[in-house]
């Protein structure tokens, strides 16, 4: 470590964020590898180190002798300032080499409001923002992750984007770069070759033209790039080993535990949920493979907690077997299990017992909407009876706190639906006091957390305008007035943050200058309340002549060409339109393991997704 870096570390909070060296992190001789990859997470170390995707790809890339993958995170405000003041460029934690020394710099796009952090990281690394301004001496800047499904606002900044699952695709891209470099090809030539890899999108090879009213006229590919890019997918999850060697953070990460990904995708088809559509079809891993990987992971990391992660863990067809398998080794190894993302409708007595054997914590459920009608609109197939059954089970088992997640601003929503949120919470409170088996002498606490709905690309609600900030404000006030019990606490999201999220979620290439300008005027860490400068953003839009409502609050026609029209995640637009129409009639769609609704994603597997018998 240089004297400058030590001086910076002496001046900041939590210097452990910036040192690397954690157990499990990989060091290599940089002269003996063909490609150096800097995996960048555009948020803090604590957030980034919780992210499973980074752990998966770090292990896959570093398993190869010819590649060294290192990590970089967005420095917190104090460290950013120290680095700028002392002229320390952004470096990767392992080698402490600056990002410019790398062959490839990859960002994961997890959240729209981290876009300015990407610019901040490039800026700290002394790398020009625009791909067109970067010469042959600059690393190839790439992106992956869910927001790549409409990465258009960032299209001008990236050389290459990767749609879908990176386990096979990212090494293929690295190979093409290594090979191209050996042949002495230019960056453009290498990128053109990469365009032939499954799920690879080279934004510079697509020309976008616009209609006078601002909508898109056409998107044209050039130089042999595919007209439509289809996401990469692991067809059989059992062929893809789980990571068994996490880098174990020493300062507490947000999710500081072992994780095994039990399944990918989701069968539910909740119409607001982007992940539910992006990761289709749902694919499971076998119980024995999972249990064994979990055991190895705990052994290698020393973690005493393991989480069974996925979009909907209780939908795993062998979940009880898996829990039984894991219970054969977890108690003697002093490991406790946790199951996030449980569903209300298949939460069973034995599930409660198996997971609460070690520790009781709060229970979290997401009914998402306050009335049955609206839950049908969004296809969240949860009924009050199921909520009642689950809460009774949980109260019998000794739980005393319940957290309920809702959204407001959903399509077709009325004030009645808002009152329904308060009523649902009240009925849960009543349920507790009516329960003869409730824990003695303890009260119940029900907290409701209400997010503002953000319509997202590739979902049936992509066509829907976001509720205006005025309307969301009224609804929030109405909810507060509707809650009568002190046992219920209410929290809700900042509607202005949700508005900006909608703008960038559905944005197009014309937003790139706004990102640059907002960053220049001091916007970064936008997702952190204390650093969110809404007024600055609005001034930037005004000064650049951009109408943010065009993106957030406008109905998109069913025949309109969206900015993401050429990005294919397997689900057809016809299907999205069909689901959109069913939503307007409050008609539900069955989970896809029960009946195929014909979304089109089965083509990615080359056959039916489930064995329907």
């Amino acid at each position: 470590m240089t004297q400058e870096l030590r001086a910076a570390l002496a001046a900041v909070q939590k210097p452990g964020r910036y040192t690397g060296g954690e157990p499990g992190c990989v060091y290599k001789d940089k002269d003996k590898v063909d490609l150096r990859f800097a995996f960048c997470f555009p948020d803090t170390y604590e957030v980034g180190m919780s992210f499973l995707g980074m752990k998966i790809l770090y292990e896959i890339l570093n398993a190869r002798e010819d590649i060294w993958c290192e990590r970089a995170f967005m420095p917190w405000v104090d460290m950013k300032e120290e680095m700028e003041k002392r002229g320390i460029p952004l470096y990767a934690l392992e080698s402490k080499d600056e990002l410019r020394a790398f062959d490839m710099v990859g960002f994961t796009l997890q959240y729209e409001l981290s876009y300015t952090n990407i610019l901040a990281m490039l800026d700290l690394a002394h790398i020009p923002f625009y791909a067109a301004e970067r010469g042959e001496d600059m690393p190839i800047i790439v992106a992956g992750g869910p927001c790549v499904c409409n990465g258009e606002p960032l299209a001008d900044f990236f050389d290459l984007m990767m749609l879908g699952e990176g386990e096979v695709q990212l090494p293929a891209v690295c190979d093409t770069v290594i090979q191209g470099r050996k042949e002495g090809l230019s960056k453009q030539e290498i990128l053109r070759r990469c365009a032939q890899i499954e799920g690879v999108y080279i934004p510079s090879l697509y020309d976008v033209s616009y209609l006078p009213d601002g909508r898109i006229q056409s998107v044209q590919s050039r130089d042999g790039a595919p007209a439509v890019v289809t996401k990469a997918i692991i067809r059989d999850m059992n062929t893809q080993p789980l990571p068994t060697h996490f880098v174990v953070p020493m300062i507490g990460a947000v999710h500081d535990r072992a994780q095994i990904e039990v399944l990918r995708g989701c069968v539910r088809g909740c119409r607001f949920c982007q992940a539910g559509f992006l990761y289709r079809p749902m694919r499971e891993r076998n119980a024995d493979m999972l249990s064994e990987a979990g055991r190895q992971l705990c052994e290698n990391t020393g973690y005493d907690e393991i989480s069974l992660t996925s979009l909907s863990t209780s939908d795993h067809s062998q979940l009880e077997t898996l829990l039984d398998d894991m219970l054969t080794w977890t108690p003697e190894e002093h490991v406790s299990m946790s199951l996030p993302s449980l569903r209300i409708d298949n939460f069973s007595q034995s599930l409660v017992e198996k997971t609460t054997r070690v520790r009781k914590s709060g229970l979290t459920f997401a009914p998402e909407a306050g009335t049955q009608r609206l839950r049908d609109v969004i296809n969240k197939n949860v009924t009050w009876d199921e909520i009642e059954r689950t809460c009774t089970l949980a109260f019998n088992a000794g739980y005393t706190s319940v957290k309920l997640y809702f959204m407001m601003g959903l399509p077709t929503e009325t004030m009645e639906d808002i009152e329904g949120i308060a009523e649902t919470a009240q009925r849960v409170v009543d349920l507790y006091y009516k329960n003869p088996n409730k824990p003695k002498g303890k009260g119940v606490s029900v907290s409701i957390s209400v997010a503002c709905f953000v319509p997202k690309p590739h979902t049936p609600f992509q066509f829907v305008p976001q509720d205006t900030m005025e309307s969301l404000h009224e609804k929030q006030q109405h909810l507060l007035r509707s809650v009568k019990s002190r046992k219920i606490s209410v929290s809700y999201h900042d509607k202005r943050i949700s508005f900006l999220e909608a703008v960038f979620a559905k944005g197009d290439r014309r937003l790139a200058p706004a990102l640059c300008e907002a960053y220049r005027r001091g916007c970064f860490f936008d997702g952190w309340d204390e650093h969110f400068h809404f007024d600055t953003w609005m001034e930037v839009f005004r000064d650049l002549g951009i109408d943010p409502a065009f993106y957030a609050n406008r109905t998109i026609g069913e025949d309109e060409i969206t900015p993401w029209e050429h990005l294919d995640y397997g689900v057809t637009k016809d299907y999205l339109i069909r689901e959109y129409h069913k939503a307007q009639q409050a008609k539900t769609t069955q989970p896809c393991n029960r009946a195929c609704a014909g979304c089109g994603a089965n083509h990615l597997l080359g056959g039916p997704c489930f064995d329907y018998r």
């Binding site: 030590r6 910036y18 040192t19 060296g21 157990p23 174990v248 020493m250 507490g252 020393g302």
Partner: protein, 218 residues
């Protein structure tokens, strides 16, 4: 059941691991290492560990120690040191593990090497000679609740001060342990004001712990 003591170094990157985090790091490392450690028998079993005279953040050491319990009195502790090292982060190396002979309450003193890099060496030497010539050097020592004014000269036992190719190196003994601990940063902060050392970041390395009679603590 016996208590054993692992002596370890904590340098470079590892010097930024706080005591709280260090406890978790050792908890996991001991678990991974397969060393037969004793777990508390409560509802939430964990390894019972005690760190002696922990270091402030950013300072380095080749003389740290942690005590833990085991029921296996005949374990091969030479091999254990190697096993444990392999499970620890960069910058932490276990030097040896052996059954405890002296209680950690016997720690009274620590030796430090304070190094100013060559570009700061002259100014550091000047600051030091001012300090050496002064009759007293009062600084404010902040406790958990109180702020006390103490005379640094009274507690600082200088072994040597020398200019070398690596810079200006000051070797000092300062009180450490349960009764009184003087953070060497109090001394470097004091020196800062004496010869415009504001931008300097001296390396502080703890080289050994001693008992009251200046016997090396083991």
């Amino acid at each position: 059941m016996i208590t054993v003591r692992a002596r370890f170094s904590k340098t470079g990157e590892a010097s930024y691991i706080s005591l709280l985090d260090l406890q978790r790091v050792f908890q996991r490392a001991l678990k991974r290492s397969g060393i037969p450690v004793w777990y508390t028998q409560g509802f939430n079993p964990h390894i019972y560990m005690t760190f002696s005279a922990p270091l402030p953040l950013g300072q380095e050491s080749v003389a740290e120690c942690v005590d833990f319990k085991t029921e296996d009195e005949n374990y091969d502790w030479t091999a254990a040191a190697q096993q444990l090292s392999e499970c620890l982060p960069k910058g932490i190396d276990v030097l040896r593990i052996e059954p405890v002979r002296t209680d950690s309450s016997a720690i009274a003193l620590a030796r430090y090497e304070i190094t100013y890099e060559p570009d700061w060496a002259q100014r550091a030497a000047r600051a030091y000679s001012t300090f050496a010539a002064a009759s007293s050097a009062s600084v404010e020592k902040k406790g958990k609740r109180t702020v006390k004014t103490i005379d640094l000269k009274q507690y600082t036992d200088v072994e040597s001060a020398r200019e070398t190719a690596d810079g200006f190196i000051l070797s000092v003994f300062l009180p450490a342990g349960g009764e009184l601990t003087i953070n060497p940063a109090l001394l470097t902060d004091y020196l800062k004001g004496l010869a415009d050392l504001e931008g300097a970041v001296p390396r502080i390395l703890r080289t050994a712990l001693y008992t009251k009679n200046k016997e090396v603590f083991v």
